[in-house]
């Protein structure tokens, strides 16, 4: 067993474990970490495959940036939210697993159906341009220049998309502190509104706070929740319920 084989088997198994971990972990954060783990292992495999630049990029872009973005969003949507064990779609898990096995079997079967010819190796390809990175650069800015340029459109789209969907513009000028003060005083609630779940038995955002007299304070609920309630009933189109 040479070094490459050792690396392959170790990192390969780790990668698979990470992948399995991703789909098995109940907590989303754990899954994210498993993915990161797999990616790092893949990066190592890249290194051993004469793809040093890619290995680096894998770690920087993927493990570093992309996975962090995932984690960040996970934080937004609730770190500790976890999938329940009960499958809601009947038979989905079983059929899915079976299908995946069948598909994987067919895939692996066809991959292994023919013995690969001997590996050419990248030494020659790299040497044409100097190093691996230079070789890549040559291709990216030569043969694949079009794709490269077009990728910019992709990135702009991504930025634009994130902005359109996530950026909340103001439809009125920002209030000054004085205005806010005045407003609050006039509203009858000089003090901050109770948070959801305050003094209630659970602290979900959906549970209204209890006022000292024991009644529920509707004001404690975020407007979105009230909105959802109305939106759900209002916008539910009659046809889809059939």
């Amino acid at each position: 067993m040479n070094g490459e084989q050792i690396v392959f088997w170790i990192c390969g198994i780790f990668a698979v474990v990470g992948a399995l971990g991703m789909i098995i972990s109940r907590k989303a954060v754990h899954s994210a970490l498993w993915v990161a783990f797999t990616m790092i292992n893949l990066a190592i495999l890249y290194f051993s495959q004469q793809a040093a630049f890619l290995g680096t990029t894998q770690i920087v872009v993927y493990t570093g940036a992309v996975m962090m973005l995932f984690l960040f969003v996970l934080m937004i949507v609730g770190v500790d939210s976890s999938d329940s064990l009960i499958e809601t779609i009947k038979g989905q898990r079983l059929i899915g697993t079976l299908l995946a096995l069948a598909f994987g079997g067919l895939l692996l079967g066809s991959i292994t159906s023919v013995a690969r010819p001997t590996v050419v190796g990248l030494d020659k390809a790299n040497e044409d341009y100097g190093t691996n990175i230079q070789g890549l650069a040559h291709l990216i800015f030569g043969k694949y220049l079009l794709a490269f340029e077009v990728t910019s459109a992709l990135l702009i789209t991504a930025a634009l998309g994130a902005m359109v969907l996530a950026h909340r513009e103001r439809w009125e000028p920002r209030k000054t502190q004085a205005e806010q003060m005045r407003e609050r005083t006039l509203s009858g609630h000089p003090t901050p509104l109770p948070n959801p779940g305050v003094l209630a038995r659970n602290n979900s955002v959906a549970t209204a706070a209890l006022l000292p007299d024991g009644t529920q304070s509707q004001e404690s609920l975020p407007t979105a929740f009230k909105a959802i309630a109305s939106e759900d009933s209002a916008s539910k189109p009659n046809e889809v319920t059939q």
């Binding site: 392959f8 789909i23 893949l42 890249y46 793809a51 697993t97 992709l154 889809v240």
Partner: protein, 99 residues
Amino acid sequence: MNPNYYIALAGILFTIGALGVLIRRNAIIVFMSVEMMLNAANLAFVAAARETGTLDGQVAAFFVMVVAAAEVVVGLAIIVTIFRSRRSASIDEPSLLKY
């Protein structure tokens, strides 16, 4: 070393990724599974590049990373939007459109 191993590994990862899409309900994990599939493809590209002695595979893998990054942004933006209006990241939740 026989590149079949790498490609087989890629296949396994790809399948696992696909399975993840099928059985996970958290939209973000589903999305991670898709990323896993893309990574599997990258592995195959990289292995194949070495096997065939061309750099195109590595370039492809590079582009995939860029594309994936852009995709992630858009995807997560959509997921966040959905989450904001539904307070849930479950991919099963938005199922009003059916039949």
